[in-house]
Each structure stands twice: as C-alpha cells, then as structure tokens.
Symmetry: D3
Subunit: 160 residues, 6 copies
C-alpha cells in the first residue's frame, strides 16, 4: 500500500531523518523550454557581448537550488556541496540539465528539479516580450544516486 | 526585428518602468503534473483528515508568487493585490491554475507562472517517495490582461 | 454568519484587494515576556556597553515586520512606511509595543503583531541560557486605524 | 553570577560553538491562541473542503522553523532533521505544539518556539476579520533534550 | 545641530515617511575592486564562452538591490522601477557603477550602494582562488536625484 | 596558468566540494568607513540611550553573514559556528573587523567579507542624512585559517 511520507496522522510534517546516516547523494533533472520561431530568433541574435539570456537563466537556476527548502514546504534545508546547471539551444527551444550534490541524510531531487524549473522560468522571462507562446513542456528527474532507496535512472531511450 | 528588453548594450538589466503609469493587471497560468498510477492512488488515499497534498501545494504556490522577484533575476518587485492557486485531480494527474493581480507599472505573468511551477514541484515532492516517474508536462500562460501591450489569451481549443 | 475571508470555495487564497483604494493605515500591537528572577537579574546586569539585549530584540522586531508576508502565508506584501518597536523593563519582565504604518489597500495588523512576536522571541533567545522558565504571556493588537472597516482600540482598562 | 552568552565585552555576537560535538537534540514548544466565540464559530464552520485554517497555520509554522536564523539575530543556521507542528481546537481556542530536531552543535529551542509562534500568528491572521479580540496568551518551551546542558521538561502539572 | 534620523528618543526606528508624497528618485553609486596582476590575468583569460565573471557579478548586484531592505535594518522596502549595474575592466581592477530608480516616498541610495557592494564582493569571490590580495578600495554615492532634499552629485574631478 | 574555479567549460557553476573533508576554518575581514566631520560629530552625539548606530551596524553585519550564499551566486550554503563583528570609532571614521567560523568543506572568507561590508553599508545608512560625502574606503581579508590551501595573513605592516 503506497504511503505519503510527508503525512503523519493525516497532517503534513517534515519527515524525521535524524536516524539516517549522512551519505553522498546526487540528483540530475531536466527541463525543456519550447520556443516559437520569433523567440528562437531573438535568443540567437539577442544578448551579445557581456552576457546572454542563457547565462542569466543558468545563474538563476543555481541560486534557486539554494532556496529549495524555502519554496517547497516540507523539504529539509540541505548543505549543497555542488550545483550545476547547463542550458543548450536545441532545434525548437532550450534544454536545461541541472545536477545537485550533498553529503546529507536526505536526497537532493527537489534541489535539482527546482534549479531546472527556475532556469526555465528565467528563459521564459527573458523572451516573453518577444512571444507569449513559450511553454515549459517537460520537467523531470533524470537520475538519483546515493541514499538507502538506491540508485535510479530514467529510461534512457526516453532521454531527449 | 525582435529585441530582448532585458538586455541593454549586450548586458542584462532590470527594465526601467518608471515612466509607465500603474494600471490594473492580471495574469493566469497553468501547470500540469502527470502522475503514474501508483502516485494517483497515493494521492487518492493519502493525506486524509486535516490536510491533503493539494492544499500543501496550493499554499506553496501562493507563497512562491510572493518570492518571484527573488527567483527571477530581472523581475521587478511587485506589490501583489491577490494570488489564487487551484489544484484539481484530472484522470492522469493534477492540473494547476494560478492567477495573480496587481496595480503596478509592469505585468504579473512571472508571478502566475512561478506560483503554478512551485505548486507543481510541491505535488512532485509530496509524491516522489511513491513514484519516480512523475513529470511536469506543461507550464504556460493562459491569459494576460491590462498594461500597454494589451490583453492576450491562449488559443482556447488548446486549453485542456 | 461569520466568514473566513482567506477561504474561497473551501480553499485558502490571498484576498483580492485590487478594487480597494490605498489609504493611510496604522496598527499597534503588544507582547509581554515574563521573566523569572534570574533572567530579570541577567537583563539588568548583562549587556552593558555598546548594546544591550533589548536593542537586539528591537532591531529583530523591526526587521521581522518587513518579513511578514514571507511568514504569514496569505498576507499581502506591503510597502511599510514606518515601523517602531519599543521594549521596556517592567517589574516581572519586558513589555513590547510595536507599530506599523503604510499607505496601501490592506491593513498592517499582522506586521505589528509579527514585529512584537519576533522581538519577544529574541528577548527569549538572549536570556534562555539563564532560565528555561521564560514565557511569552500575551501578544495582541492594541489598535488599528484607517481602512474601510474603521478604527478599533482594545479596551483601555485592559491595557497594562 | 548569571551571564548573557550572546554578549561578549558588552556587545552582541553569535556564540562560538565550533568546539562542541554535534549531538542529537530536540525541543518541544507550545502556543495557545485564545479565540472569542465568534472566531471559534468561524473556525468550526469555515474552511471546509480542501483545506482549513489550521492546515494553513501548520504549514506556516513548519516553514517558519526553517527561517529561525533569519529572524532571531544571534541564532545559528541549523540543518533541521524534522519539524512537526500540531494544532488542536480546545474549548476556548487553539493549542499548538511544535517540535524540532537536529544533529548539531547547538539546540533547537528557538526553532520550536518560532514554529509555534508563527503558527499562532497565522491562526490570528485567518480569523482577524471575524474578531479583533483574539490573543496569543502563552508561548513557552515544553521540553529540550540532548546537548551538554542536559534534558529539561516544563512542570507537568503546568502543562495544559 | 546634526541629527540621526534613524534614532528617536535614543532608540533606532524605521523613519516614518507616510506624510511624504511619492516622487521619482534615482541614485547612482560606484565601487572599485583592485586586482593584483594574477587576478587581472585570470579575469582576462578566464570565463570565456557562455558567461564571464563580470556577468555573474552584474546579476548578483541587480539581485542584491532587491534585497536591500532585508540587509540594512532600518531601510524601507522599496518597489524599484529599475536597477542597472555596469562592470568595466580598468588598468588595475574592475570599476562598478550601479543605478537604482523608484517612484516612492524615500530615496534609493542604499539600493544603489548595495548593488555596487555585492557586485564587488562577487568579483572578489570569483577571483579569490587566484589571489588573496584583492581589495575593494572605494564604495561611494555618485549622485542622487529627486526627493525633497534636492539633487546631489559627487565632485566631478573626484570621479575616476 | 591561473584558473577560475567557479567556471567549468566557460560557464559558472558552484564548485563541487563533496570530496573534501570538513575541517575547522576561520576568516577575518575588515572594512573602513570614512566619515566627514559632520558625520563623526553626529555619531559622537547621536544615538544615546538604548542603542547606538554602531550596534545597529554590528547586528546587520552578523545577520548578513548568514545571508552570504543568497547574495553571492556561487557560494555554498555554510553552517556558521560563529560570527563576530566589531566596530570601533577611529580618528576619521569607523573601522569594522569581522570574523566567521565553520567546520565545513569550504572556507568562510565571503561570510566575513559580507559581514564587514553590510556593517559598513549600515553605518553609511545611519549617517547619510547628515553627510553625503561618506565613503567605504577599504574592504579586505585579514586572515584565513584552516582548509587545504593553508593559512594566510595579510601583511601586518599593512594592517591599520
């Protein structure tokens, strides 16, 4: 019978991880921002020089990973040991891959997913004046390693 | 020629809106969280009693709207006059519709999108122990009203 | 029939104030921290010189007022035009009176109450190594002026 | 002679805990919100359906525990391993009991007290449109375990 | 006789600006980061490609401006209408010029100064592995316009 | 060849410290605020009684140290074990010395520098109504101990 670990006696709580041993953990997530043609063009010709929209989005993603426990009500505050966010222009948009690592009592899936999501929202923000038809079409976990529940990888054929 | 308003001389900046007149503005956004069967079941039978996962996600979305300008680097801080986030179980997941309003010099699209995104991430967090195959499959703007650039609505046939 | 304005169709939301006109508003709140004798003594002889515990608590209260909408889920972000927090040693503890002002579409009761509460918690923190028997025995609104619902004052004979 | 540990040479500082060994620690706190009859009635008949005021307050308390070191100037940032907040309707109001745990060099009393206080303020916020006579009449520590200074429990006959 | 506006009856408070009329205001500030030769070289040859250290610092400055009232205890929260931060390599380091604008009851000097300071600290952070001899050698206001106290400009011959 | 550790393949990232062993680390930094005569006089005669401007600045510095990883984009969140900020009136201004300690995988230079910088900005804020000619003329690291890269001290003759 499946169980919601974030609920105890029918009420939400922050799961007690105090009996767990800190181990090295990593999570990798992705997000995809689908851009109409005019937004792709603007991205291509836009921010030249000292910075470009993808760098802004990358930093937003890194900084958001550090805010995960402020945003997701029942997440534990986690001392992240690294965060990486990569953005890549693909034929019809921008693909984002983020990773987070820690040595702690709980995993960092939400940190990786939050980084990818906020990077995607920032791409949206940079380009929304050009096109209102932008969509974030996929946010998901790609892999998770470390921790008692074992490693997990998304179906590889499924990875874009 | 399309133009990135968040870039000036090739460098990112926060657009100057000081010459604009405050007007009433609203934006509506949606997000969709696709749940594998075991996650749907857990959601159905899970948090009974004082709260349920969708209420946690709803509050997370409302609170995240207020953090938009902290998350999206070039967003203006905006005094929101209302935020609404609704979550609804649909056949294969959860649909989220969020709206934000203000009377200000700039729009609230990012506030509505951030609310929907963080609500979706919170649904993910509540159910991730049950299934790792959860995906957020769509985040987009549904409508935008007020402001100089005029009203905009997503194609209605396109709305789920 | 009484009504919870923060709930609509059974779900929490941030009340829409966009139709209201901004007016000048003020709220005054108080908190009382009851101190056992050893804590009173420590407060008396403690932080001499450049600062004392009450100044730390006062600043904590002022800064907390600015965080009210981050702490109270359905509060609107409000551009405060002033915050005042006063702490006074009374025979068996510390009395805190806080006030907040704004010119906005909604009131600042929660800002004044949050300032008083966090100032009280800070007094607790400064003195908890000396005594564990400290209690915050009263937090309440003293007055509220401005806004459509009219002025309100706590019963005066009731004010300490 | 009692001593204010947060003060050194007459000036406030964040106590140096670097020589301490991390140990498992827990603190339990309570808060009581006294509700006039009309507020009790509204609470009873109010938020039916997807959420109720006590769930909103519960989440606010959990999230506030994570913000303790931002609110209380001299508190250490602490990686919480769990937070629990329970709210219960009692004859003349709402009783809140919160607990916080960590494995760290310093205790979590302020985290438990902050969770209880912000949950109480949120109950206030949800019901303040119904009655201005609401008061938070008691916030205190119930117990503290772990750490060099030993365990401590409030007088049991004193616990409501 | 000079007077500390942030103090009233000997205690700090947030100045009451509720009687003031909102007017358009701007402040411009600068910071200078002095770099030893090895740090200058690293900056020259370092972050090529998608981003460079100065873009990271620029975004940090813009985002910090929005956090000014969280950092400076007695600052009012201000709805900024624009923030600009420019970084320029000069012979022996990096010069930062920041500007902030609002239409509000109080000025934005602290917002401009905070943006410049945090951009400077970020340059430091990016280059500190290369050289420990980096110094921030000047942070100051360049100009201030709008508001009752009138316009002000730093001595021009004094501007680097 | 010098290398920017915060950049990988030309893009900024948060350095992976997961392979490092936690060790005790300390950093000491200083800042100097140069005050024109009228500001020195105001500081001398200003905040008498319950608090003075230097106490406000001291607390602002301590609290800012805890926000370092929110402000500096690529800094790791660090569980600080102590923060100390001292402010001293010297002939032509205020000298600030800050120190930060942790037992972690990475150093606390940025925490000490951020504390000193925000304390300096707060001194500026308290006195800016008295004089616009205030400047922060030096922010730098004084020493750094612990960690693999070894101890480091600024040239002593160079210390004011």
């Amino acid at each position: 019978m499946s169980e919601l670990t974030h609920f105890k006696d029918g009420a939400p709580h922050m799961v007690d991880v105090s009996e767990k041993t800190p181990t090295k953990r990593e999570a990798v997530a992705e997000a995809f921002v689908k851009l109409p043609k005019e937004a792709m063009d603007a991205l291509e010709h836009g921010g030249v020089g000292k910075g470009d929209p993808l760098t802004v989005a990358q930093l937003a993603g890194i900084m958001a990973a550090k805010k995960t426990s402020e945003l997701i009500p029942l997440c534990h505050p986690i001392p992240l040991s690294s965060v990486d966010v990569k953005l890549e222009r693909v034929p019809d948009g921008v693909r984002i891959v983020s990773s987070a690592r820690t040595t702690d009592r709980t995993g960092v899936e939400m940190e990786a997913l939050t980084a990818a999501s906020v990077a995607a929202l920032t791409v949206y923000d940079m380009l929304k004046a050009v096109s209102k038809g932008i969509e974030i079409t996929r946010i998901r976990l790609l892999s998770k390693t470390g921790g008692k529940s074992g490693d997990w990888h998304a179906d590889t054929e499924d990875v874009q």
